[in-house]
Symmetry: C2
Subunit: 240 residues, 2 copies
Amino acid sequence: MDNFLRENIFVILSNPSSSENIGLVARGMKNTGYRKLRLVLNRPLSKHVFKTAVHSEEILKNAFIFPHISEAVKDMNVVFASTARHRKNFPSLDLEEAVEKMFAFSSNTKIGLVFGNERTGLVSDDLRHSNYRFSLPQAEEQPSYNLASAVLLTLFQLFIKSNPQKKSKERTSLISRKQQEECIRLIIKKLENKKFIHEQNKKHVIDMIHDLFGRLEMREKDRRLLLAVFSKGVDKREKQ
Amino acid sequence: MDNFLRENIFVILSNPSSSENIGLVARGMKNTGYRKLRLVLNRPLSKHVFKTAVHSEEILKNAFIFPHISEAVKDMNVVFASTARHRKNFPSLDLEEAVEKMFAFSSNTKIGLVFGNERTGLVSDDLRHSNYRFSLPQAEEQPSYNLASAVLLTLFQLFIKSNPQKKSKERTSLISRKQQEECIRLIIKKLENKKFIHEQNKKHVIDMIHDLFGRLEMREKDRRLLLAVFSKGVDKREKQ
């Protein structure tokens, strides 16, 4: 993952009510590789936050608590505040635009992402401590995204943009077209032996067999399975 | 939103344990505009599901419950199963590839998205009832995404792909370059009157003023605010 964004993104929750949500935010951060959490809270963290923070306790233990939003953002370079609804005086960006902006900053830029209380969202005072506002696209006005969901969706878009999906390690390469055709020929031969293919349907069925097995995009293990099925499986059934 | 995907995507939860998660899944579906939910459950829905299903009760009330995964998928045309870890015999797609496949089907294709139990994920029997497996990218192996989060991230990618972000309604157009320059000229004049700009720094400061206010990408309301600030605000301070 891009080290810049992993180290320089700070998730800032302004007066979250639910301990379960705080824990879920930590889990979502762990899932996407971010780990710097700040909380604007007038109370200490309750033990309940750990219930939902599966394998993410460390993020909570290293979280900083501030009495006011101004303290939580003061060493940031740029602050993006998430808002569900339009705010007069504070136009907002789409998530996509906001993410693009974040990627355009130099690598020592500290970026704060501020999310408001579950019920009230961000208040005007919070918005004044932000450079930009952004909104997550949603299908309908109500309900807004759950707090932990809003954080996760934002981080996920950052994560997949900074970490283009690697092809999975298990993905094996296709066998050569020649090997594919040898396998298909063998299948056809077996089907001819069984009289499934005969003079009248030959052209049509052979075409269909080529199309069908061509679409399999054959790997070595597919080839082996097919050969076994058609050599043994089909013959076996013949004998029954 | 693209009607095809709104109507033809079926979220299928196989043996979910937590009622809160079921409710959160419904909320995430409402957020992203999907509404067809199926549950493979050996118990009736508990009332607790409604606690987290803010404004999404309807999706739960219309959800169908099936005793076995085979029943839940039987009228689907294609089934995608979400898996966090690699399964032998069942290679999986990236989320991005899976979403692309979903968009390539004809518009009457019913697509089932199957998500497994919170702790066990999908069992082999579930996987056998799927055409494809897919995995959400994540930064580390542990923890996997919370069940409701996995559903939401999948639906969100479908949603933003089927519903390219509209520029927000409040976005107003820029004023003409001529108007911007008139405004900047007026600001410069005020600053010259106040001797902030003088012979020695003139060229340098005027360039900087142009750069600074140019980057504002001025809208009409910005122009008005700037003119008011520099006509009245700056003058007022002069009189004090």
